[in-house]
């Protein structure tokens, strides 16, 4: 007869196991930290800045064991978390809005990033003017043949409302969320846009330079190739800053050390390797 005592023992063992595993993973971290402090820097925000942030954090972890937590949930979410204190640092891939600055947020540009319009590799159209891009995304132009391409309906793919890349893209190209074509596919995350475009010859979307690969073809703007050099030379205008934002006085020195590392030689090197454009 399964007496209740055995069940009680089982539950007891279960909880001890949980507590043990919780603290064991704690302790082995403590012992390694050189300067004894095991501060955690919680960073959340843009899904474009995120991957760069993770690569930087991985490199940074080799010399300093401050735990860097990178949460990829979208620029506006990062900014909201920075304001509300849920995260110490917010990552944004767009400039701060007035009310966000008013909330006491300081910003540091850690790199620049270009946004490139992408289409299916089979798409003959390789070059667009800023005006044409606007017409595509606002629905004035609906067929690729109007842009010198094949007779194919255009399927617009855009990012979700809170994405920094979308805000920056819309600001530079010059249309508002309300004007975005209604049946545009909304894909959350650069990766999602890339796979949607890569699998659909009708599709057109925009992604951060970091995500460029051979599964999609990139569009030049007014004949200017989408490359970090052209952004630095200000010839390619579709770019936006990668910002770390934090509330005045809320930045711990562990956080400050991480930012200094990013702005240092090695930090900017990693940014370049990741496809972003170094600040220095």
């Amino acid at each position: 007869m399964i007496s209740f005592k055995k069940i009680k023992m089982g539950l007891l063992m279960l909880s001890i196991l949980a507590v043990l595993s919780a603290c064991t993973s704690n302790t082995n971290n403590d012992t390694k930290t050189s300067d004894g402090s095991n501060a955690t820097v919680s960073i959340s925000g843009s899904t474009s800045v995120g991957p760069l942030g993770e690569k930087l954090a991985a490199k940074y972890a080799e010399e300093d064991n401050t735990k860097i937590e990178i949460n990829q949930i979208g620029s506006s979410a990062g900014i909201t978390n920075a304001i509300s204190g849920v995260s110490e640092i917010g990552m944004s891939s767009r400039d701060l809005k007035e009310e966000e600055k008013a909330a006491g947020l300081k910003e540091v540009v850690i790199a620049y990033d270009g946004i490139v319009v992408v289409a299916h590799p089979s798409n003959k159209v390789k070059d667009l003017t800023m005006e044409q891009i606007k017409q595509i995304f606002t629905g004035e132009v609906t067929n690729w043949n109007e842009l010198g391409g094949a007779d194919m309906e255009i399927v617009v793919v855009s990012r979700e409302d809170g994405s920094g890349s979308r805000d920056a893209f819309q600001e530079i190209v010059g249309y508002s969320s309300g004007e975005l074509i209604r049946n545009a596919i909304i894909a959350s995350g650069n990766g999602n846009i890339k796979t949607t475009v890569a699998n659909n010859k009708h599709a057109v979307g925009f992604i951060s330079f970091e995500y460029i690969d051979e599964s999609i073809s990139t569009m030049d703007i007014n004949g200017v190739k989408a490359s970090p050099e052209n952004v630095l030379l200000e010839k390619y205008r579709l770019s936006r800053p990668f910002l770390f934002v934090y509330k005045e006085g809320k930045l711990t020195d562990a956080g400050q050390r991480f930012i200094d590392f990013i702005l240092s030689e090695d930090g900017q090197l990693i940014a370049a390797e990741a496809g972003a454009i170094p600040v220095k």
Binding site: I7, A18, S21, N26, A57, A58, E69, N71, V86
Partner: protein, 275 residues
């Protein structure tokens, strides 16, 4: 004419059964086909690396954390609440309304729990995006399940056991943990197993409360990804279907293990009680 109608209907039965099985085979087949070559020892136990090629061990640990913490909080409260509703409370209208409320709570989509958790636990209680915030949200999700299944199990215990025990001069508490709960145990356990299944499969609620940090969580206060959230983010972020499918295989294996152990335990318990 009847023969024709019969044949037609019998045909329809066979076709729909075939369709269901075909769908099952297709889905499980797709996941294994796409993900199997990624499965390896290092994939399951390796640490995550942002530049790809890493393992999913942190996600497995996070999933285990969420299961353990949610159950450790939800099981006692759920069982004790069910005991109160079934054994102590007067079966008046109040108890019936509570039961109807828990009934409809089990039907609420988990995204609403995620909504609530994201604001209440993450921001209001200042827990931040963390495993504990996600686990508390999951606790609220599984609590009604545990209460309902435990109550049903308590109902199956014959009244004669209670009277027999009380008539021997034992207190209600002794009767409860010596006679009533042990014989209701199979039902209670099935409720717990059901909850584990729901926790493992949950993604919407966890996505909004535990965040997306893809690293080994330090403690229950750090943000982390569970397996299901990882499968979703991988599909969304990098569009890597193979990796998502591989995570899917691990999830299916976990669900299989849970279901099999559930049937095994309930068989053993049933045999024990009415041997």
């Amino acid at each position: 004419m009847i023969q024709l109608k019969d044949k037609l209907l019998r045909g329809l039965l066979w076709i729909s059964a075939f369709l269901s099985v075909a769908v099952l085979v297709m889905i499980v087949g797709f996941i294994f086909y796409k993900g199997i070559n990624l499965i390896s020892f290092s994939f399951i136990f390796g640490d995550y690396s942002p530049t790809g090629g890493g393992g999913i061990w942190p996600m497995i640990v996070t999933t285990i954390y969420t299961i353990l913490i949610s159950l450790i909080i939800a099981t006692p409260i759920g069982i004790f609440a069910a005991v109160y509703l079934q054994e102590y409370a007067k079966q008046g209208r109040l108890v019936r309304t509570i039961r109807f409320a828990t009934e409809s709570l089990t039907g609420i989509p988990s995204i609403i729990y995620g909504l609530f958790g994201a604001v209440f636990f993450v921001t209001t209680l200042k827990l931040g995006m963390s495993i504990i915030a996600a686990s508390l949200t999951l606790t609220i999700i599984v609590l009604p399940v545990i209460i309902r299944t435990t109550e049903e199990a308590l109902k199956t215990v014959p009244l004669s056991y209670r009277e027999g025990s009380l008539a021997l001069g034992t207190t209600k508490l002794q009767t409860l943990y010596k006679v009533i709960l042990p014989s209701a145990m199979p039902g209670v356990l099935s409720g717990i197993i059901l909850s584990i299944g729901r926790i493992v499969g949950e993604s919407a609620a966890i996505f909004l409360t535990a965040g997306t940090v893809a690293a080994m969580p330090d403690s229950i206060f750090s943000s982390a990804r569970t397996l299901t959230v990882h499968a979703y983010l991988v599909t969304q972020e990098s569009g890597d279907i193979e990796l998502a499918a591989a995570v899917g295989i691990v999830l299916i294996v976990i669900i299989l293990v849970i279901n099999l152990s559930a049937t095994f335990i309930s068989k053993k318990l049933n045999r024990a009680t009415n041997k």
